[in-house]
Amino acid sequence: MRALEFEVRSGGTIRIDLEKCESCETKACVKMCNATGMGQILELKDGVPALKHSLEEVKRGACTEDLGCELDCELYGNRAIVITLPVSKLDDYLENSSEQPTYLREP
């Protein structure tokens, strides 16, 4: 499976499933990334999203982690992007907590 995957500064990854992008009519992620005036790391290459910078530059902070690509892709594109941003030690907390957080419970 063809994918564009890169790391971001805060410790996480952005994965774009390029097979889905081929049939995407909007390329909303690229528009969004360039519209914020801050991100500007994605461009279209051969009809699919590509990085304008090296992986190192992106990881050093060229990606401003505004999350716009994933959210706009979900609304207007082909749901091709997954941003994974672990919170270190949060899982430890949740595993050790005797009570469930409210979002897992029913009112």
Binding site: S10, T64, D66, L71, S88, E99, P101, T102, Y103, P107
Partner: protein, 424 residues
């Protein structure tokens, strides 16, 4: 602030030449027995926890022999003292005390310079002395550019009365060393309470040292690992998790503390526990002012400032929502210059993950207030993603005060409680 445990503070005192009783840190009965071979009886056995007034809390025992020592160690280890588990004990030679005195160096908020404080009434709470017997407290301003010399201290001690010349000199030398501790280790407070006058001179029987967390990066010799500042208790697991968010990325900060980690304070006060994220500390405090009278208590405080990136808002929202006791959530911004659309995206991503079945619509009452830069975009994003349509969320724009925000939350909570009966 980063408050040191007694044994850590005493180690710093020792480095600067302030005499302290001979002692050992132990974590088991076996270690205590080994320590006693070197120390000899009688000894004091002192729980190493951050809470003050350990004497009153039963955290200090004395032992005359191996039986009483082993009993004291067993009793104290694993005990909870004001919410903090006892993980270490300081076993110390018991000093023969003739007089107990008080000495401290800190910064005076009004004069904005260091101040040396001395009282002949040591061993008790200095704040109490300040209230009941202000004449027993003696202070001297210190010019930080000039330093603090033994004769400055002597001139202060001369005012006290009842101290012999030799005693004054001993104490003055101790005072200048305490000032060195204060300066050397970037302290906010360096306090000895009590100092004991003993046969050989003076000795620090206790140590309170608060190190400035803003200076920890240059205090490399301290070799102490602090999470986010948690005041007079150790950081909670959730606070430690939240602290990792700012450690890995310096683009904006999300300062998170649990003001009431188990919601016991809220419940005792008859308040409903809620989670809170505020853009600006002042805004967090202001929304608290409005929420508490209506019957809600934010069990965490979070100041999201300095224009944090969207991923930080995502992560901190997950942290705030992980608090199992909350029956509501508020995000409140001041009329901010930050890019609030980034905040909105972070919140939306978090909500969608936490509530996958409803596409991000929460199951507890949530109020989100965007005021300032890109606030209209932020409000629109919640609508576009269908979250604003949720029954238990209100997304508000610029023309809303803190008071109105709290009232809207209150109405939403009441409706939720009435219809759903609350969380199971």
């Amino acid at each position: 602030m980063a408050r040191l445990l007694e044994y850590q503070g005493k180690a710093l005192f020792k480095r600067q030449g302030i005499p302290v009783p001979e002692g050992r840190l132990v974590q088991s009965v076996d270690e205590a027995m080994n320590a006693i071979d070197e120390l000899g009886f009688p000894v004091a056995v002192k729980a190493q926890v951050l809470s003050g007034r350990r004497g009153k809390a039963g955290a200090i025992h004395f032992a005359e022999d191996r039986d009483s020592l082993s009993q004291a160690v067993r009793e104290l280890l694993g005990k909870q003292i004001q919410g903090s588990p006892v993980e270490g004990l300081l076993i110390e030679e018991k000093a023969e005390v003739q007089k107990e005195l008080y000495m401290a160096v800190t910064a005076d908020p009004s004069t904005r310079q260091p101040v040396g404080i001395f009282s002949p009434k040591g061993g008790v709470d200095i704040e109490e002395t300040a209230d009941t017997e202000p004449a027993a407290i003696f202070t001297t301003p210190i010019d930080i550019l000039r330093g603090f010399y033994y004769y400055d201290a002597m001139d202060l001690l001369r005012q006290v009365g009842g101290l012999e010349s030799r005693e004054m000199l001993t104490l003055a030398n101790l005072f200048t060393r305490l000032y060195q501790v204060y300066r050397e280790y970037d302290c906010k407070l360096a306090e000895i309470n009590p100092i004991a006058l003993v046969e050989q001179g003076a000795m620090a029987l206790d140590a309170r040292v608060d190190v400035d967390d803003d200076a920890l990066s240059r205090q490399t010799t301290l070799d102490i690992d602090f999470a986010e500042e948690a005041g007079e208790r150790a950081a909670t697991l959730l606070e430690i998790a939240a602290a990792t968010i700012d450690e890995s990325d310096h683009r904006g900060t999300v300062h998170f503390v649990q003001t009431d980690p188990d919601a016991s304070y809220a419940r005792t006060a008859g308040k409903i526990p809620v989670g809170l994220d505020a853009v600006g500390a002042g805004t967090g405090l202001t929304i608290m002012d409005e929420l508490v009278p209506l019957g809600y208590y934010p069990i965490n405080f979070c100041d999201s400032s300095g224009n944090p990136v969207g991923s930080k808002f995502y992560r901190i929202t997950k942290v705030i929502m992980a608090q199992p006791q909350i029956e509501g959530y508020l995000f409140v911004s001041c009329v901010s210059s930050q890019q609030l659309d980034n905040a909105a995206r972070g919140l939306i991503k978090a909500f969608k993950e936490l509530y996958p079945r409803t596409g991000g619509q929460p199951n507890i009452p949530c109020v989100v207030l965007f005021r300032g830069g890109w606030d209209d975009v932020a409000v629109d994003l919640f609508r576009e993603h269908g979250i604003s349509d949720g029954r238990w969320i209100k997304v508000l724009g610029r023309d809303t005060t803190e008071k109105e925000t709290a009232e809207i939350f209150d109405a939403l909570y009441r409706e939720w409680k009435k219809e759903t009966g609350g969380l199971q």
